[in-house]
């Protein structure tokens, strides 16, 4: 029942995307997210979407896995799509279809349909690219890269290294806690606990026998971990070096150049073709 959840969904591989410096990957992912909102017409949007598809193909991550990461937001996408189709109004909209239902006028406008398509494609691209980031980067690499990127904030007395350590530890313990939850659920089910049926309130109450031992064990683990870290002289102060060194290599700048090129292309396409939204 809990086994479907994957956090830190790394997909091992040696593709160009896997080999890109994690810092560069994060920055370029953010840049891509900006670019996709710059698009003003279908040419620009098409190019940006194509870039995402190319990256996905290069990554070697099975298309099925990328599509699966889109499933949770499908409802949201459909919902916003439908809303956009019917509720886009304006002074000079082109009405394609109109229908009187009681006193409500259902109106489908060209602008509405275009907005819906834009929003849908944008959301799907966002998810595809951000899931590519997590598929091709190990969680520990991600946190290391985040730490490095946020390091300037340390000058403002923000405890970046401590936050990064907390993040790493949290990620490390997610699978452990999932396993633990499953074990405890099985143990309580063996004593006849009914965790699967009943009203919502009943089910919430039925989870007390699972939550209490889970918290107890999480605190126990935390205490053990704290002593283990202290006995290795961890204090949270001072600069820490990393076992896995991040290094920018020529191809990382290739990716950067590619993204700059894409941005320039989008700006040009926006300029040469008529904006539709």
């Amino acid at each position: 029942m809990i086994k479907g959840i994957t956090i830190g969904q790394y997909f091992a591989g040696r593709s160009p995307l896997h080999r890109m410096d994690a810092r560069m990957k994060i920055v370029l992912t953010l840049a891509y997210m900006v670019v996709i909102f710059l698009c003003k017409n279908f040419w620009a949007l098409g190019c940006t979407a194509l870039a995402a598809v190319l990256c996905a193909a290069l990554s070697g991550v099975p298309a099925k896995m990328i599509l699966r990461s889109m499933r949770p937001v499908l409802i949201l996408v459909l919902f916003t799509g439908v809303l956009n189709v019917f509720y886009t109004n304006g002074p000079n909209t082109h009405i394609w279809f109109q229908y009187e239902l009681w006193r409500v006028t259902l109106k489908i406008t060209r602008e509405g349909v275009f907005t819906a398509m834009f929003t849908t494609i944008r959301i799907l691209c966002l998810i595809a690219v951000s899931s590519l980031l997590t598929y091709t980067t190990t969680p520990s690499m991600l946190t290391t890269a985040m730490e490095r990127l946020l390091l300037p904030l340390a000058k403002l007395k923000v405890p970046v290294a401590v936050f990064a350590m907390m993040m790493t530890l949290a990620l490390r313990f997610v699978p452990t806690l999932i396993e633990e939850t499953e074990r405890i659920m099985n143990a309580q089910k063996s004593r006849g606990a009914n965790l699967e049926t009943g009203s919502l309130l009943q089910r919430v109450r039925a989870f007390v026998p699972v939550l209490v031992p889970l918290f107890v064990s999480a605190f126990r683990r935390a205490a053990e971990l704290a002593s283990a870290m202290e006995s290795r002289c961890y204090t949270g102060e001072g600069p820490r070096t990393s076992l896995k060194q991040l290094r920018l290599r020529p191809w990382d700048f290739g990716w950067l150049a590619g993204t700059v090129l894409l941005t320039a292309g989008i700006v040009a396409l926006n300029h040469f073709f008529r904006a539709v939204i």
């Binding site: 099985n186 143990a187 063996s190 004593r191 006849g192 009914n194």
Partner: protein
């Protein structure tokens, strides 16, 4: 009729790839009523996976499980019945205690069975008595007990459901010798007084030799050997190949026999060893 029976039971964890072998495969287990069956095997051999089928926690991907001759996956009622007919006590059961008092925690199982209040109370007292937990412990918080007491209180929580068969997954793991001894004693006593079937997973060969009527040896998800202590521990070489061992006394007597002493080949417990040594002394046998 067997108290617990599995027929070519096979299970593949759903989140494992197609290439990985099944966690257990083709297990035919048969425990007669009142029998104490021990399951041994190297770590990862599928012991815990096997026992989680006995009370319908895992749904077999192949084969069937019968409790008192009844297929437990027949319908919803039979699944729920299996939970109470087969009391499964997980490894480190003390980590699953959650109530404010030991008494309430032991009562959790019987309460889920929908028993009346006085029956629950009677069962709690009986279970506490089986595991040797003094009545003064009952109003305490489970977190105030010692490690061994916590373990015994958790086992009592399963016993209080008065299942037809009790299944214990490594009940003595991580306890000191005194704690281990107490648990072994209580299992023997529970079995003697209730006459119910007990299944026990263990890594400790001395414990197995002492308790078991029948031993099932698991190896890489399959049942490699099954039989009495003599039949299983008589195959020391095969056991060692599977990463297991024989009780230390069995090993010692094997060497004595190799050295030419006329000792029995069926020495598995310290008591048997002491009796055999006494016999040698009586008969005045000397090392050649």
């Amino acid at each position: 009729m067997n108290a617990i029976e599995t027929q070519s039971l096979t299970y593949q964890y759903p989140n494992t790839g197609k290439g990985t072998p099944a966690a257990i495969e083709g297990i035919n287990l048969a425990a007669q009523p009142g029998q104490l069956l021990c399951i041994i095997g190297h770590t990862g051999s599928g012991k815990s996976t096997l026992v989680q089928h006995l009370n319908a926690l895992l749904k077999p991907t192949g084969g069937a499980v019968f409790v008192d001759g009844k297929n437990i996956w027949q319908n919803k009622a039979s699944i729920r019945q299996a939970r109470f007919w087969v009391g499964l006590c997980f490894q480190y059961p003390e980590y699953q205690m959650f109530e404010e008092t030991v008494e309430k925690d032991i009562a959790f199982g019987p309460k889920n069975m929908g028993l009346p209040g006085d029956e629950i109370r009677a069962r709690v007292l009986r279970a506490a008595e089986y595991v040797g937990l003094p009545e003064s412990c009952l109003p305490k918080s489970p977190f105030d007990l010692s490690g061994g007491e916590k373990r015994r209180a958790a086992i009592a929580g399963v016993m209080a459901m008065e299942p037809r068969a009790l299944v214990l997954d490594e009940p003595t793991a991580g306890l000191d010798p005194a704690g281990k001894e107490q648990i072994q004693q209580l299992i023997l006593r529970y079995r003697r007084e209730t006459g119910r079937t007990v299944l026990l997973i263990s890594h400790n060969m001395e414990e197995v030799a002492r308790l078991a009527d029948q031993i099932l040896v698991m190896h890489q998800g399959r049942a490699a050997l099954c039989g009495t202590a003599a039949e299983v521990f008589g195959r020391a070489a095969q056991l060692r190949e599977m990463g297991l061992s024989v009780p230390v006394v069995t090993d010692i007597f094997e060497r004595l026999r190799a050295a030419g002493l006329p000792v029995s080949a069926e020495i598995f417990t310290e008591e048997q060893a002491a009796a055999e040594l006494a016999r040698l002394k009586r008969e005045g046998v000397r090392l050649p």
